[in-house]
C-alpha cells in the first residue's frame, strides 16, 4: 500500500514543506526491526542509506526477468537489459538538472569517479609546478587521489582552510586560487560538518583562471536539489547507495568537451570501436569510460530510487531534513557540554551532525547507542586532515534522512542521557 502511494508521490507530502514520515518509513522493510530489544533507529545515513521496497523489488525483478549482458547481445533479454540500463542513464541526466546523457558515466562509486578523473584528465593535464586546490574538509575520496597525483607530477597541493564555525575561510581565497590553479576539487557538503559550500561562487572564480572544477556531491545529491548546470562545475561525483540505490554504483558527470579529450580508463571490452593488433579506436561517449561489463542490475535498480526521490520531491527532502536538524540541535542542547561540530544555521548545512562528549570516547558512544537500537557512526569519517584541524581524534556522527523523525531524535537524546549515567563520568 505504502509503496503504491510512492509511485504517485504527491500523496506522500503532508504539506508544502514536509514529508509524511510514517508512510515513507513503511516503504523501508529493513527499518521494521528491533536491535538488542529496541526499535531500530538508523542514523548512519551519511555512510549509506536504506533501500525502499521499490528498489529491492527492481533488483529482484531484474534478475528474475531481464538479466543479460548489455550492448552487444542480439536477443530479447540483452535488448531489455540494455534498455533498462540506458534508461537509468537518461534518468540520472534529468535528475541532476538536465545534462547530456553522454556526460553521465557509471562507475562503482564516488571514489572510482574521482579516481577516474585523476587517472585520465589529471594524468594528462597536471604538470610540474601546477597547483591543485582542495579544502580542509575533504573526504579521503576527494583527497588521496590528488595527494598522490600531486606527488607524482611534482604539482603543488593547496587547501582552503575552515573557520572555527565550520565554513570555508574565503578571506585569503585570491592567494589560494590563482592563475597557477589547474584544478579545484571540493565537496559540496561536508560528511563531517554538514557544511554546504559555495560551489558556484568558487567554481566561477576558478574558471576565471582557466582551472577545471570537480565537485564531490556525494553528500548533497541525496539530500537537496542539486542542479549541476547551475553549479557550473566540470566534473561531479556521487554514489547511488547514499540516495536509496544499491551499493556498487557511482556516477561521474563530466563536461563533454573534457570527456572527449580524455583518454579511456578501464581498457577492455565495451570501450572500443575497432581493435587491431597495431591500432585501436575508442568507443564514443560515455562507453569509452565503461570498459568491461558494468554493474547492470544495480544501475537498473537505481532508476527506482531516483523515481522514489522525485516522487517525494528533493525540495521536500531538504526542508524535512533542515527542520529535523533544527529539532536535533534543540534537543541535543539539553546535554551539557556536548560539543557539536559545524555550522549551527540549519539553512547552511545538511543533516550530518558530528558531536563529541567531553568525557566519553566516540567509540563508547557508538557501542552504547547500538545497545539501545541506535545506529550512528564513530571515528574519523575518512577525513583525517579535518579531524586534526578540529583537534579531535574522532567524533560521533548522527546523520538524518527522509525516514527519520522527531521520535528518532528523542530516542537518540534519551539514550545519550542514559549513557552519561551508565559511564558515570
Amino acid at each position: 500500500m505504502a509503496s503504491k502511494t510512492t509511485q504517485n508521490g504527491t500523496s506522500l507530502r503532508s504539506g508544502p514543506t514536509s514529508l509524511m514520515v510514517d508512510i515513507v518509513k513503511a516503504d523501508f522493510p529493513l527499518l521494521d526491526q528491533t536491535i538488542h530489544g529496541h526499535k531500530l533507529v538508523y542514523l548512519d545515513n551519511a555512510a549509506s542509506s536504506q533501500k525502499p521496497r521499490v528498489v529491492i523489488n527492481a533488483l529482484l525483478d531484474y534478475y528474475r526477468k531481464t538479466n543479460a549482458n548489455i550492448h552487444r547481445g542480439l536477443h530479447t533479454l540483452a535488448e531489455r537489459a540494455t534498455d533498462s540500463y540506458e534508461r537509468t542513464r537518461d534518468h540520472v541526466a534529468r535528475f541532476v538538472g538536465g545534462v547530456d546523457r553522454e556526460e553521465i558515466i557509471f562507475t562503482s562509486g564516488t571514489t572510482e569517479s574521482i579516481n577516474l578523473v585523476a587517472a585520465t584528465w589529471g594524468e594528462e593535464n597536471i604538470h610540474e609546478g601546477d597547483e591543485i586546490v582542495i579544502t580542509e574538509m575533504e573526504h579521503h575520496a576527494n583527497l588521496v587521489p590528488w595527494v598522490i597525483l600531486a606527488q607524482k607530477k611534482k604539482a603543488v597541493l593547496k587547501h582552503i582552510p575552515i573557520t572555527i564555525c565550520g565554513h570555508l575561510d574565503l578571506s585569503q581565497i585570491d592567494d589560494i586560487i590563482t592563475p597557477k590553479t589547474k584544478l579545484l576539487a571540493l565537496t559540496h557538503m561536508s560528511n563531517v560538518l554538514g557544511t554546504i559550500n559555495p560551489v558556484e561562487e568558487l567554481a566561477a572564480k576558478a574558471h576565471q583562471h582557466g582551472a577545471v572544477v570537480l565537485a564531490d556531491v556525494a553528500q548533497s545529491m541525496p539530500h537537496m536539489p542539486v542542479d549541476i548546470p547551475s553549479l557550473g562545475v566540470d566534473f561531479c561525483a556521487f554514489s547511488a547507495h547514499k540516495m536509496l540505490g544499491p551499493t556498487g554504483v557511482g556516477i561521474l558527470y563530466g563536461k563533454r568537451e573534457l570527456l572527449d579529450k580524455m583518454p579511456p580508463y578501464n581498457m577492455g571490452g565495451e570501450m572500443i570501436r575497432e581493435v587491431r593488433f597495431d591500432h585501436i579506436t575508442w568507443a564514443e561517449l560515455p562507453f569509452k569510460f565503461e570498459g568491461g561489463t558494468p554493474n547492470v542490475a544495480d544501475v537498473v535498480a537505481f532508476d527506482a530510487a531516483l523515481t522514489y526521490l522525485e516522487a517525494l520531491g528533493m525540495q521536500n527532502v531538504r526542508d524535512h531534513e533542515e527542520r529535523l536538524t533544527g529539532y536535533a540541535f534543540e534537543r541535543l542542547s539539553e546535554l551539557k557540554d556536548l560539543e557539536i561540530q559545524g555550522p549551527r544555521e540549519t539553512g547552511q548545512r545538511g543533516g550530518a551532525i558530528s558531536f563529541t562528549d567531553p568525557n566519553i570516547h566516540p567509540h563508547d558512544i557508538s557501542t552504547f547507542l547500538d545497545s539501545r537500537g541506535i545506529a550512528i557512526r564513530a571515528g574519523h569519517h575518512c577525513a583525517q586532515p579535518l579531524m586534526r584541524v578540529l583537534g579531535k581524534v574522532a567524533t560521533a556522527r548522527a546523520s538524518l534522512y527522509i525516514y527519520n523523525d522527531e521520535a528518532d531524535v528523542d530516542q537518540l537524546v534519551e539514550a545519550l542521557i542514559e549513557m552519561r549515567r551508565y559511564f558515570g563520568v
Binding site: G37, H361, P362, H363, D364, S371, V393, F423, V425
Partner: protein
C-alpha cells in the same frame, strides 16, 4: 539492559575507566613506549621505572575509549612489582586471552578476566590490546639494548 554491553563494560572496567591507576608521573623513567591505534585515534604512553630487573613503578597515560583506558589502568596495577620477564609473559597472555586462544586466567591476575567480554566486540579488541602491545614493544627494545630512546608502535603493525 543489554547483556553483551554489560559483559564488555563490566563494573571492573568502568571502575578502572573512571579512576585509572598509574596516573602519577615516575621519579625516574627507564623504559618509555608510546602506542597508537590509527583506526580510532587512541594514544597511550607506558613508562616503567626498573630496579634490578623488576618493575618498581608504572605510569600510564591514555587518551582513548573506556576499553583502552581501563586496559591500561589494569596494566599499571598488574605489572607493578613483576620482573620484566614476568611482565612480558603477562602481556603475551593478555593477547592470547583477547584473541580467544587462552581462557584460563591465573588467580592473581583476576581483573584481567573482565577483558574477556571485549571478545564479543571484534572491532574493540585492538583497544584492549593497545596498552599491552605498547608495553611489549618497550620491553623488547629495553632487552635489545635500545635504552634511553622512546619505543613506538601502532596496533596496525601488530600483525601476529
Amino acid at each position: 539492559m543489554n547483556e553483551s554491553l554489560d559483559e564488555m563494560y563490566r563494573d571492573i572496567i568502568l571502575d578502572h575507566y573512571r579512576s585509572p591507576r598509574g596516573k602519577k608521573p615516575l621519579e625516574k623513567t627507564d623504559i618509555a613506549s608510546e602506542g597508537h591505534n590509527p583506526s580510532c585515534g587512541d594514544e597511550i604512553d607506558v613508562e616503567l621505572q626498573v630496579d634490578d630487573d623488576t618493575v618498581k613503578d608504572v605510569h600510564v597515560n591514555c587518551h582513548g575509549c573506556a576499553i583502552s583506558v581501563a586496559s591500561g589502568s589494569m596494566l599499571a596495577e598488574i605489572v607493578k612489582g613483576k620482573t620484566l620477564a614476568e611482565a612480558f609473559r603477562i602481556a603475551e597472555l593478555v593477547k592470547k586471552i583477547l584473541k580467544g586462544e587462552e581462557t584460563e586466567i591465573p588467580e592473581d591476575l583476576g581483573d584481567l578476566d573482565a577483558l574477556k567480554g571485549v571478545r564479543q566486540f571484534p572491532v574493540r579488541i585492538k583497544c584492549a590490546l593497545l596498552s599491552w602491545v605498547t608495553l611489549m614493544e618497550g620491553l623488547k627494545d629495553y632487552k635489545s639494548g635500545q635504552r634511553g630512546g622512546k619505543s613506538s608502535i601502532s596496533t596496525d603493525d601488530d600483525k601476529d
